[in-house]
Amino acid sequence: MLNQYILMADDDADDRFLVQAAFEDNKIDQKLLFFEDGEQLLDHLKDDNIKGITRFILLDLNMPKRDGRDVLRTLKADKQLSTIPIIVFSTSKAPDDINSSYKLGANSYVVKPSSYEHLKEVIQKISDFWLNTAMSPR
């Protein structure tokens, strides 16, 4: 069986740390890979040497180099990579950001919770849905 990964791209180290903590505290047994910007994420996905299945991507919108929108556009235009579920994970509640993300093909849009308790809950729900409820693309 191939390795399975959950990917997260976020330029904020604290957020990466908190999400990791949330996964650990929820005892979700999945490999997490973190990237600091869109470019790193895309490089990883396009690297053919890495074998494995990406279960879903947690994608921040505002990042240096290539931002979340750019990543969304690139991935959804790619024949193979377009099947990977992308969950936009941003602080912004602005209707503009939400609408444009869905238009670019995001699979869902989740606002970063403002407390750790809430974050844990959200991570649990996301995992429940995308790992255990929804069928993954084959």
Partner: protein
């Protein structure tokens, strides 16, 4: 004093001066019209007099002409009379008869001409008598052939004829003298009016020129001032636009950059509590709890601030809004708390206005939820919403708004039976983050009514409140009846 009120004062001052000026202009205009009318009518009457006296002078000339004509006629009669006396022929006789018969007609003509002057009428009567006498004498003279008469008789005839002629001549001379005197007077009057009319011409021209000049100067000055105002206004609009876009940027900063660190504070406090619960002292947990609480409250404030700053958004489209539907919508979204508190909302029929539906929903939602929130303990809240109509100047403003004095407004009154507030707070409650109660008693950030005021000012209206402690609150929403939106 802040910049806003200073500007306001300058504006008020200038409008006062403007008003005075506009009255001065009206006054000047009225006076100039009045003067020009008076002067023109005087000019007309003087002109009339001038024409009258000129005519009289002409008339005198006519009379004088007539007088000399009669004189000549008399001489002609005398001439033919003498000719007849010497020659005794029929030609002279015919001429003499003919000429003599003309005399009474001449007298009649003169009499018609001088009918307006009593002295001359008197004289002309004497003349008529003399001429008639003369004529009858001539006719008698004609009836006897002259050559048959003796030399002495002829001399007497000549003498008599001369005497009659002289008598007539004397009367005519008198008349001519009188007429000359009359004419002299009339010429004097005429010349006098001629001069007056010349003076009047100059006076009217002078007055008209003076008013034209002063109007021109005033207008010129006004135009200059207007230009200055326009420049000032444009400047102010530019400043406003700038500060508006700065506010929008601020909204973005508040939404993203300020929330980010706050989220971290909350998250890490949470995490700290979760991870180290067992090792934390009671004091430390208590303090962490306080940090958490403060952070939550700050989050609320930022959210509210954001909500408020979104009202600056100018990209919304103006729609036709039925306020009855707005109230229904608000009732629906507050249905739970309305049911819970057994709130009764009585609404009269409300108008249809132009505006932004989402903002109007927010307005009524804030007001009604306030009424529910600040209700008396143990008393079910009742809210009455009813409509009246007023003119702009009837709105009890704190600042004057002369431009909307005549504009008709809808006044929507919202009255509740809640705890009310002290009279002196009627304005303060609309200020952002101003609260009358402690956080413990009533939760909230104090933004609700600030949002209401912003919404109403976006709709070119006014919102005022009235309250008394323990007697409920009243909110007056004034919305212009006509669409005052510029786009």
């Amino acid at each position: 004093m802040d910049g806003y009120s200073i500007n306001k004062q300058i504006l008020m001052h200038s409008t006062l001066k403007e008003e005075q000026l506009s009255w001065a202009i009206r006054f000047l205009f009225a006076i100039s019209v009045f003067l020009i009318v008076i002067l023109s009518s005087s000019y007309h009457s003087i002109n009339q007099e001038l024409i009258y006296y000129s005519e009289r002078v002409d008339h005198s000339h006519e009379v004088l002409d007539k007088i000399s004509e009669i004189t000549i006629d008399t001489y002609v009669v005398t001439y033919y009379g003498r000719g007849y006396l010497i020659v005794g022929d029929s030609s002279n006789r015919r001429q003499l008869t003919y000429q003599a018969q003309k005399l009474p007609r001449r007298a009649e003509e003169l009499s018609a001409l001088v009918a307006d002057n009593s002295a001359q009428v008197f004289k002309v009567r004497a003349l008529t008598r003399a001429l008639a006498d003369y004529q009858s004498k001539v006719l008698r003279f004609v009836s006897t052939p002259p050559l048959a008469q003796a030399q002495l008789q002829r001399e007497t005839l000549i003498k008599n004829g001369t005497a009659s002629t002289q008598q007539i001549k004397a009367i005519l001379n008198d008349m001519a003298q009188i007429e000359h005197k009359l004419m002299n007077n009339r010429v004097k009057s005429r010349n006098n009016y001629k001069q007056q009319i010349l003076r009047f011409n100059w006076v009217i021209m002078g007055v008209a020129l003076a008013f034209l000049l002063s109007s021109f100067i005033l207008l010129e000055r006004e135009l200059k001032r207007n230009k200055l105002y326009k420049f000032e206004l444009e400047n102010k609009i530019e400043n406003l636009n700038r500060s508006n876009s700065e506010l929008e940027q601020f909204a973005y900063v508040a939404s993203h950059d300020l929330q980010e660190p706050l989220r971290k504070i909350r998250s890490f406090t949470d995490l700290l509590v979760a991870k180290s619960k067992s090792t934390l002292s009671q004091d430390a947990s208590l303090m962490l709890e306080k940090i958490e609480k403060s952070a939550v409250r700050m989050q609320l404030l930022i959210d509210d601030l954001l909500q408020f700053s979104r009202l600056i958004d100018t990209s919304l489209e103006v729609e036709t809004v039925d306020l009855n539907e707005i109230i229904d919508e608000v009732k629906r979204s507050l249905s739970e708390s309305i049911k819970e508190t057994a709130t009764e909302i009585r609404t009269s029929v409300l108008p249809v206005v132009s505006g932004y539906p989402s903002q109007l929903i927010q307005l009524f939602q804030n007001l009604i939820s306030n009424s529910i929130k600040y209700s008396k303990e143990g008393v079910a809240p009742t809210i009455d919403i009813f409509l009246t109509e007023v003119a702009g100047h009837e709105i009890p403003h704190t600042r004057p708004h002369p431009s909307t004095d005549e504009t008709p407004f809808y006044c929507i009154t919202l009255r509740d039976n809640g705890i009310g507030f002290k009279k002196e707070y009627a304005e303060k409650i609309f200020v952002i983050f101003q609260r009358l109660h402690s956080q413990e008693r009533f939760q909230g950030s104090g933004i609700g009514l600030a949002i209401c005021r912003k919404v109403i000012s976006n709709h070119n209206g006014y919102i005022l409140s009235e309250g008394a402690e323990g007697l409920g609150a009243k909110f007056y929403i004034y919305l212009p009846k006509e669409n005052l939106f510029t786009r």
